[in-house]
Amino acid sequence: MKGIKKSFGSNHVLKGIDLDVKAAEVHVLLGENGAGKSTFIKILTGAYEKDAGEIYWEGEKVQLNNPIDAMNLGIATIYQELNVIPELKVYENIFLGRELKQGGKFSMLDRKAMITEAKRCLSLLGQKTELAEMELGELGIGQQQLVEIAKALALDAKLIIMDEPTSSLSAQEVEQLYSCVEGLVEKGIAIVFISHRLEEIKRMGNRITILRDGYKIDTLPVKDTDPDYWIELMVGRSLDEKFPKQSFTLGEEGFRIENMLVEGTEQPVNFSVNYGEIVGFSGLVGAGRTELARAIFGADPRNKDAKILIDGQEVQIKNPRDAIDAGIAFITEDRKSEGLLLDQAADINIALANMKGFQNKAKLINLKDIRAKAEEYIKELQIRPNNIELHARNFSGGNQQKVVIAKWLCTQAKVFIFDEPTRGIDVGAKVEVYRLMNQLVENGSIVMMISSDLPEILGMCDRVYVMSEGKITANLPIHEASQERIMKAATGG
């Protein structure tokens, strides 16, 4: 690809990017949130029109006007946002757009062949083949992501583009993905890989291209360079530490859950969080961490005899409103479906959970206050672009996540439950989120973090609960925790 340019309105996102991908290599794209990675690959797949530039495929100039053109060339794509049809079966999703038929163009679909092939792809990813005939909507978000990957595998593509495929997977599935990618590369297939997780780039990548503000900064071999150097190129300065862990003196117990039953299990969950510590929740995808958080927050029904105590006082939470009023904030894991009003401005999104706080005496909302507050958070969290009127949809994934965090900061909550808070955000931003957690703890808030990113748990938490099948299977002070111990507890042992 040569000199690719793209702007949305006057927002020049790509300002001339060149990239070449060789067969049998894993080419990593790295850049801050909003650097233009997703936009760039959407042009490559024909999903967006480019403003300028040329694309060559096997030496020949090609014109990609829509996703079909790219598919026909042999380019398969896993987009950053899940692109699946919940109402269709898994195998139908895998073959969507290029179904197998029994005969000619207008003949019936060959369901058997599709199911067989779908099962093969799923087993390549270490998944049960029965999944193939289930309705996709019944799977959890992680499994849905795996189906997307299977979809790309089934295409028999020559180039597979993966835009943050691991962001909603836990360690185990990520391993499966790694070995799968290795297999593909051995077959001579090229991979373009976007990720914010440096350790996996180090492990899998052959070459790395770094983007910043719509410019290509450099392309480097992965082996011979240092991740810290990438970061420097990426953010324009060096980053002192990836996990700015600060330790505070452990305070009193501030938050306690008793007898909480996560749906589908019989054994109640009990845990507590003290002031001055960050408590992590680790586990495999589907371990029930999100469900636990939702139950606490009043978003899902729960057992009657469950108790929630803040500062030793029991609080009654029947719905999210009660939870917010009790001072709990829940930063949900899926920013698009649970976090944002995509077609409304950033300031409204930020103020949404605390509209009451912006009312004047006449019970009218003061829009100026909202704007001022939003500006404040945008500056504090370095949300880009710093335009409070931009609709949430038009922020890049990482910046969307920051908007969601801003929304919850705005509620002045006491207890913060972060569910996968750094999913899809860049290293620089991650550090900002971590600093923010530190700050929250320092200012006397309770902080819990559900995360599938083990290094992050190990790097930031003071204590970690491990969940498996809706039960807490371990409670480890961080100095006793290790990848191995956590994984062991997470798999039920």
Binding site: T45, I68, N83, V84, P86, E87, G97, E130, T491
Partner: protein, 330 residues
């Protein structure tokens, strides 16, 4: 070890799934059986071959419109113009085959072609003009279609259609109305179309997640155009049945029929949010409406109470489905 745990969970889900599927298919049927039971109890005329055939015949126009309507609704759209399309189709068929006395088969072809043509127009307006929602494009063509139906004969009705045109709407095979046989045939074809062909599955995909469908290489516009064209075609076909039943075409034919068709589709378990709905459910939905109206007539319920009762039954029928789904989720 973790593998085993995962396995168990999934097996569980699969097992649950099959029971769910059966239940899901049973749901609107339940409402139909309930309703029929009540009516059998209240009127001895209800459960007679004669009356059942009556219902079969009376349901056929709405059944055809409803199966056409199912497609837009599956794509999270709607088609408000079916009643008007029906009217234009039959008026123009009247002009061709009665006023101009041309070949009746040509008349039938024209009727279906006009229906499909208007449907095509709906699809093109929606996709090419990029109108924000089919509510607008089809509301517009609802007016346009009705206007044309009124214009072509200056609002006069047309009677005296040739037998061939009347055949479908009028004749019987044994005790069974030909129109009902047509309905069954169309429903079987549509079932195969929706479940076993590529375009059929694409219709569900577009309703489920249009952006994902587009990125998977589905030509969304093309599929939408097909969807609205089929809906229009069905309106033309329903018009043909209507002309056979009443041996005349009149420009106000089909006023508010879109509501009955939509009600049938939704009572049949489809969702306005797209991606959910079946052909069998739609048939049951259409039958529920026909049985209800027939029953109210048999019981001589007054027109005003009929209105109120129909409203109650529409809500109740959908509520039965809601209850079932809630149980399913448990």
């Amino acid at each position: 070890m973790s593998q085993i745990i995962v396995d168990k969970k999934q097996e569980n889900i699969t097992e649950k799934k099959t029971i769910k599927t059966y239940l899901a298919k049973l749901a609107p049927l339940l409402a139909l059986i309930l309703l029929s039971g009540i009516l059998t109890f209240l009127s001895d005329k209800f459960l007679t071959v004669n009356n059942l055939m009556n219902i079969a015949r009376q349901s056929s126009i709405n059944a055809l419109l409803a199966i056409g309507m199912l497609l837009p609704i599956l794509t999270a759209g709607i088609d408000l113009s079916v009643g008007s399309i029906l009217a234009v189709s039959i008026m123009i068929m009247g002009i061709v085959s009665v006023s101009m006395s041309l070949n009746p088969v040509l008349g039938i072809i024209v009727c279906l072609a006009v229906g499909a043509g208007f449907g095509l127009l709906n699809g093109v307006l929606l996709t090419k003009l990029r109108l924000p929602h089919p509510f607008i494009s089809t509301l517009g063509t609802q007016f346009i279609g009705r206007g044309i139906a009124l214009l072509v004969t200056a609002a006069a009705p047309i009677a005296g259609f040739p037998y061939i045109i009347q055949f479908v709407g009028r004749e019987f095979v044994g005790p069974i109305p030909v129109s009902f046989i047509l309905v069954i045939f169309v429903y079987v074809v549509m079932h195969i179309f929706l479940t076993r062909t590529q375009t059929g599955r694409y219709i569900y995909a577009i309703g489920g997640n249009p952006e994902a469908a587009r990125l998977s290489g589905i030509k969304v516009d093309r599929v939408l155009i097909i969807v609205y064209t089929i809906s229009g075609f069905m309106a033309g076909l329903a018009g043909l049945v209507m002309v056979g039943r009443v041996n005349s075409a009149f420009p106000l034919a089909g006023v508010t029929y879109e509501l009955d068709a939509i009600a049938a589709v939704i009572i049949g378990g489809a969702s306005f949010l797209g991606g959910v709905g079946t052909v069998a459910g739609t048939l049951i939905g259409a039958m529920i409406i026909a049985v209800l109206r027939n029953g109210l007539n048999l019981l001589n319920v007054s027109a005003d109470s009929q209105m109120a009762l129909i409203g109650v039954v529409i809500i109740a029928a959908v509520y039965v489905d809601v209850l079932r789904q809630r149980k399913k989720r448990k």
